[in-house]
Subunit: 239 residues, 2 copies
Amino acid sequence: MAKEITSSSNPLIKELVGLKNSKKKKELNRFLIEGEDLIELAYQNNMLDMIVTSIEISLYPSIEIIKVPEFIMEKLSNNKSTSKMIGVAHYDKKELTNDRRVVYLDGVQDPGNVGTIIRTALAFEYDAVILSGDSASKYNEKVIQSSKGAVFSMKVIDDITIEGLKDRGYQIIVTALKNAIDYKDILLKEQFVLVLGNEGQGVKETNLSLADTVVKIDMKNIDSLNVAIAGGILMNFYR
Amino acid sequence: MAKEITSSSNPLIKELVGLKNSKKKKELNRFLIEGEDLIELAYQNNMLDMIVTSIEISLYPSIEIIKVPEFIMEKLSNNKSTSKMIGVAHYDKKELTNDRRVVYLDGVQDPGNVGTIIRTALAFEYDAVILSGDSASKYNEKVIQSSKGAVFSMKVIDDITIEGLKDRGYQIIVTALKNAIDYKDILLKEQFVLVLGNEGQGVKETNLSLADTVVKIDMKNIDSLNVAIAGGILMNFYR
């Protein structure tokens, strides 16, 4: 049975509107998703807690449905054409276990890049993606969208450092333009982490100094590849 | 000497404001660029015709400078924080000559994808990028931005069909998910074109039927890679 809420001063609606704030999302581990495909993927991954909708829906019988008028949907939606259905979801806590293939994003700030890298990591059977604190967040709606929902099934972790990974015995492979060998010329260890850096500055010096191997992709004419492109080429090769 | 214009009803200013319309840009082969790096690259490629600015500049002595008040800059700028300097540029007509490595975008609609593919093509020494009529245009400011100006030095062409390329003797390599061989298992001819398709629908049937070889990248878990990622992997391999 759907519950009906008609006032935007209702505490639940206020809380959900508050989730437009990125700090709030992180703090509450609760975020909104729009688009049927994303909602379906969140559901499949047991992350969907609630659906807010302005229409009658018969999907997801096990999920709480909140029926609201269109003006509340407008308040909640981030899209120009207001969605008819918005999902409320959470992330489960995920930890690095004995994972073999890991990619670490060191200050990758463009949400489209972060989402695309997560999507690519899933396609190439990486086990985990680690986001540094200054990378775009897994709660960012553009990260979620450009990952095409891969962020729901991929193990995305945000509290491990390169130092921590090195301590666990991971081979640290860092991408950089200088003092680097061709990416094809390395001996891949069983457990490794591929470190991709910020769009402008690259990987931080402190992390670069922890590298076991520094690799580059041979190119001409321009200074650097887009980080998601470089990541795609490297993840495809290091499997 | 800078010329000064103070009224937004001045015919030149009206024409430049009109260039926010994408049809107009194409029709006049004239477009606005913002950002010092892009303006510099347009200049280096002899594409920069004029600079409109609200400040004193001593750069580009050979280029016509139009000095305007800030409110006119606001009218012209596409950025939230209005630029101090906007370039007016054109593309030179470019034609396919005896080019060896060509990438063809068949309905790639996301400007970020098109720009990133052009940037990657330049890095991997491709000779030309061909855009189908339903792909994002080289006049689109997001294409220009995400190409990081590569669109100025790359040969970007928009009036050749796959059929035309086949007639010229190009090997037609098409990416698709079905009935495809692994991309590493092909024999690359001297002159080839790599065809990348629309984000949702892939390469059109009519173009697929003209393929000499259909290739795919081995992946798991998800249906497809982002088209710019697939393009990056393939262009890096087919050089």
